[in-house]
Subunit: 245 residues, 2 copies
DNA sequence: CGCGAGCTTGATGCCGATCAATGCATGTGG
DNA sequence: CCACATGCATTGATCGGCATCAAGCTCGCG
């Protein structure tokens, strides 16, 4: 963490969409270099969010979207009484803040689960540019649409799956997204607590813990704290799909 | 139904966004008359969907969005094994098909729950036009964003509410939307079966039925088949909010 | 070392699922 | 018009999965 700074050194490239290693996952998908240069002009600012700190809160006025550069976030909504629900976990290349467009206010909290960095994308500038660049417009629409589809998947999970099936679906989703980012498909480190997993899946933390233990007993996982090794991915798939009915 | 046709009569106005009574709820929100005329050019086609029939199916290739003109729809997703989940109910002025933008295929089924009519909005033309009309672009973004926020609300419901709370939230949501459309706030006719309500709320139809009976016993509702009269809306609000914790 | 946050594990209880029977409205054909 | 079938809804009895309550455990950290 607090290692001494390396000898003074200039960043060889301006950090920008055009040479970001996430550009195949993020907003720039499908854009030419020329177009990317235009995008670079709006995504100049970056912001660091220490672990545990909010990127934004429900109720704050909305002005920008955020692309996760490094780190990991959760988003959660709350009802008037204290009920809370984690609505998603976001990792590198994913967009935060889409909820704010509809009412010009954020409707959920976004909290960093580890020290993180995001790119700030001023919404109105993005809208302006996407009126010029149809590829950007198209990609932005796709991202919003996929968020809707993702939410429908969570609704299916919450509405019709039992505890272990939810856990299996959750783990497969995480490994899938990590694989897309070039990480191993069967080693993962959970960035969130059992309670946060439970909130996301509509379960209590004890139930999450028991599921982990069960999976370990069954030889499906190796669980050491938040270090998870997937030993039998097909078994997880079977839980999500073939198991019932 | 099969009443004799009225004497031959020309529609006094071309049926179009610019003189649609839903224009304050639908895509045209915030657009000038001049802009509306441009929108009219793409929303020429209408389509009738008889009760029980699909507007589109999951897997079909995506080409257009649909605005409900009259009638009532449900959307549902299914997993590979037979699990089904109703993800929403759509009424006049609401948009269907947003899920298809992300992958160019629809990801859910949209089924008419009564004889319905929709306006067909070819997506690519809409995208083109919204690059010219920033008000249209803005409204389209808002609609997508609100859909995401709505889904988050359902996730909260599914993840953290008990049966009667879910039912109360569902009924309040319906009456709220009917009120927006100028209908009475306490008389409603359910367009869907108990089973469909249950699927949406993550409950079994028996549980839905019992909740209706309970509400009736408690003097909160008057239930006759699918005819519902809300007698005590505050009680429903208390169930959703103040009840627990 | 001791403290606390996060996690595991066990015992018990409750809510809603499941199973089953009946009721009721609508439609169809004799 | 009745007899019967069909789809949807209600209601009761029982069961089971997960929540809840309650200890203890583990690990990181001041």
């Amino acid at each position: 963490m607090n290692a001494p700074l390396p000898p003074l050194r200039i960043e060889p490239f301006k950090v920008a969409c055009s040479n970001c290693n996430l550009r195949e996952l993020c907003l720039p998908v499908g854009m030419s270099n020329e177009q990317l240069e235009r995008l670079d002009l709006l995504v100049g600012i970056r912001r660091s969010v220490p672990r545990g700190e909010p990127l934004f809160h429900a109720g704050e006025s909305f002005g920008a979207l955020y692309a996760v550069r490094t780190g990991f976030f959760k988003t959660c909504v709350a009802s008037e009484d204290g009920r809370e629900q984690v609505t998603g976990f976001q990792m590198a290349g994913e967009l935060l803040g889409l909820d704010g467009i509809g009412t010009d206010r954020h409707t959920c909290d976004a909290i960093a689960l580890e020290d993180s960095q995001v790119c700030v994308i001023p919404y109105h500038q993005l809208a302006d540019l996407s009126r010029e660049l149809s590829d950007l417009q198209r990609q932005f629409h796709k991202i919003m649409s996929r968020e809707i589809v993702r939410d429908h998947g969570v609704m299916l999970l919450l509405g019709s799956m039992r505890a272990e099936e939810r856990m299996a679906a959750f783990l497969l989703n995480l490994t899938q997204r990590l694989r897309t980012r070039g990480f191993s498909a069967n080693e993962l480190v959970l960035r969130m607590t059992r309670e946060e997993i439970g909130s996301y899946l509509g379960l209590k933390l004890e139930t999450v813990s028991r599921a982990f233990s069960k999976f370990q007993d069954d030889g499906i996982l190796e669980v050491r704290q938040r270090q998870i090794r997937v030993l039998d991915a097909p078994a997880l798939h079977k839980l999500v799909n073939g198991a019932n009915r």
